[in-house]
């Protein structure tokens, strides 16, 4: 697909997701997931050396986080960080992830005083893998 078409689709998807979010309509996460997919496609089409390519990469990660798809966001970020990208992109990607973590921390500010997000994520992973009490492992 042409990058122009993809750009148009991304713009539309972002607008749609923002509208859904603004109006408090619940499945905004799906819209953000769509944005993330489109951004990912765009990133594939654009080289990291291009500024639009870097924007697409940042957008894909940010939209995945907005979609609540933490795993995907991290997978994308890891992939982009592995590229021979300019330092500014890497810094930006890390900042996006940090901001998300901070947002989570501020949302769960009491828990954050006692536990790190990483621990919660490890627990979630283990829970996903082994179920309640870890009995399914």
């Amino acid at each position: 697909m042409e990058t122009d078409a993809l750009n148009a689709l991304v713009s539309g998807a972002i607008w749609r997701a923002e509208q859904l979010e603004t109006h408090g309509i619940r499945p905004a996460s799906q819209a953000w997931a769509e944005v993330s997919s489109l951004e990912e496609e765009l990133a594939k089409a654009l080289a990291v050396s291009e500024s639009e390519g870097r924007i697409a990469r940042r957008g894909a990660v940010r939209a995945a986080l907005k979609a609540g798809d933490y795993a995907r966001a991290h997978a994308l970020a890891d992939a982009y960080l592995a590229e021979e990208a300019p330092r500014s992109l890497k810094t930006a990607l890390r900042k996006i992830l940090e901001e998300d973590a901070q947002a989570m921390a501020s949302r769960f500010r009491f828990a954050s005083r006692h536990h790190s997000l990483r621990e919660a994520q490890d627990l979630a992973r283990r829970f996903r893998e082994a179920g309640a009490f870890g009995l399914a492992a």
Partner: protein, 850 residues
Amino acid sequence: METVAFYSYKGGVGRSLLLANAARFLATLGKGVVALDFDFEAPGLHYKLGGGQSYVDGRRSSNFPLPAGGAVPYLIATAEGAASPPPFDEHMMSVPVPRDAGGWLRLMPAGPAPHQSYWAAFKDLSDRLRLSDPSGRGFMALLDLQARIADELKPDYLLIDARTGVTELGGLATTVLADTVVCMFVANQESLDGTLTVVEALKGAPRLANQKPIRVVPVLSRTAGKPHEDERFASGIKRLLELGGGVKGQSSNDLTLFSLPHDDVLGASERLVGGERKASVFSPLYQAYLELFERLFPSGAETARRVLGRLTAVADIREDLTNSRREPYEFRDLLPPWSATAIEEGVLYKAEHRGKGSRYADLLCRGDNGSPLMVVEDVWDGDVSAALEFWGKSTHVRCAVLLVKNQYGGRERRIFTREPDGADLHPVKRWDLPRPREFELLRDVGDRSVETMLEAVGHGHIEAVAWLVNEWRDSSLTVDAMMPHHRSGQWRPERAQRILDGLAATEDLRCAEEVLYRATPRGYDPWQRERRFRDDWDFGHEIEQTMAEDLFAPLFWRLPVEAVLKSMEPSHYPGETSCLAGYRLMAEGLMGLRYDPDRSALEDAREMAARLPAAHDQRDEGEMMWLDRSRREQIERVRLSEEAPPVLVWEEVLQEEPYWRGTLEEAREKVGAKVNKLMESNVSLRRRLKEVSGRRELATHGLLGSYEASGRIALYPQVITAAAEVLGISPRYLKSVVFIHIWAWALARESYDLDGQRGYGFAPSPRTNPFDRESPAHVTLVQAFTDRLIHLLKDPNLQAAFEKLSKQQPEPYTRWAPMRKLPLEKLRMLLLAARASAPALGLPGNDESQ
């Protein structure tokens, strides 16, 4: 904050009830507690904690208003990213706890279950919480709730009711949130296997960075038997003990599981007893709760121990106070216990007069009229003098029982008493708790001195008799000289004598009868003997013999004759002739003879059988019948006769006809009406006896009593009373003197000497005319032995009565005085001669060659 999750693999093990009790217990210890209902599929912790109001229609009374929210709505709101944390007040409520406890308890129910809105919210919980989301937000939501409780409410404990089985939230509440997991199970294979699996998982679950290693406490619930000893469960329980831990036994290797016994009442009522101070809530289940709490909550262990100790001690006292066991040989067991309604528990007693303030009494015992008589307070290591100050100065209670910490860390009872109008409570040396009747019996229930108890007997309080007899026993019984270290109680002969003299002075016939009953050696059964004396006394008959000789026998002769006769009635001693001890004191102790009415009866029976042609077995039967008859006769042989005595009959008949000749029966027939008239008028009778006394003809035999030809003994109480008035002595003692004299006669006749002969010389024979008299020598001897017995009894009243009577008696009755100088052996020789058996007279017997 310590988080304790209560988990069970299977439901119905009393998990929520245990949690509710633990929460209340901790709150009453002054701890801050939050209880969290995470049993989302079947929530109900609010019911257990006393919020009985239904979310559905508001029925049933509630101790506290239920919130609109709860854990489910709260977690959803948090997980979905609420801008600010939902207010706790909308999701929690305060549960009332005793005000003075200083602690608090808040409950976060699961939600408005079982209202439909709850189930609707719960349906979406999983989707919204997204525990498996790698972002960790579901876990963060859970951890956030826990952390917020810790940071904002700052409780000492967070107690979580975790879902039964293997569920997401059940797993997280235990593996992630909890510091300690109480795993409850019941004694069946299914429950044990599931619990074991979960406990192993818990022990292997990863911990968060700032968490301590998880502590798992397996608790066996609803036990009835001893599942530890059941082979089917042995290996599982052993493994649980390895993983979790249990109660340490006497040795460090001896571990058993925490067990909660099955309790129908507490379990069925789901009553919240944790933290209760009233002993009536005490039950094996509550005790087990407290023992578990003691180990589960180390910070409150000391208090839990104290509460447990307090409740145990107060419950023991309550049990002791209301115990209705009747062991009719101990003084206190003769007295009825306190009725349950007379005892109030956990009373805040307000000062009645002079004093100020109020004080907590664990037990308050009231008398029949409702007046407070006794309090029990667990002071432990508190200020005893402050307690005494209050109970002594600000109340009218007559007894305060304080439970005080002793040097060994246990509790000891200290009893303080006073008289009804006494000033201060003073310590007393008694351990057993006063019973309600004692407050009527004694002015000061702490004063159970011999004198006080004798005074109570003097007032007709029959219960004091048993105490005095027991005290006599303790003061006078010692074992033989071969084993001086074996001694029961303290040997205090003076005290024993005081008791004996006091009991002998009993006027009240009911009490006197009781004295004889209690002093009856046979009344002390072997079990009781063993319990009281243990192995200090190897042979029961030693006690029986000592009691018979040193207590019963003297009392038999010294107590009012009416009581003595009453005590012989077979209703008291079926098949027994307890009076034998009394007779033997005279016959064996003084006369040197052997009195054995059973043997006499058997010999008579054999003599009779020899004359009758009968089969051998019939002879045996006949002997037994004869024996029974003899015993009956023995009991019935003494009577208090209202008839006129022979001497008065003879006197009347001779007044009418100086040369009259005939038998006593004929004389009675002739002057019966006249004599009866004389007997009916006390004044006339007294006048007549005054005349008789003036002539010094106040004969014991024939006038005051008689030993009849049939062998029966009669006393004439009307004549004795009139004579006593004439002599200025108490009729009671005169009656006893006559009783002794007539029995001396009977015993001289009926006892056996060493040759197996009875005293034929003392055989009564019917008078054939008014001038027939008893042999002066025989009268003198009988009177001499009467004097010896009275002297032996050391009863000044009897002695005075005997001497005063003697002064007004015919000459043979007065010769006892010079005979006192004779040695007893000489007197016995004279008696043998008077009994006139051939060997006694020194005559050769027919069977000498044999």
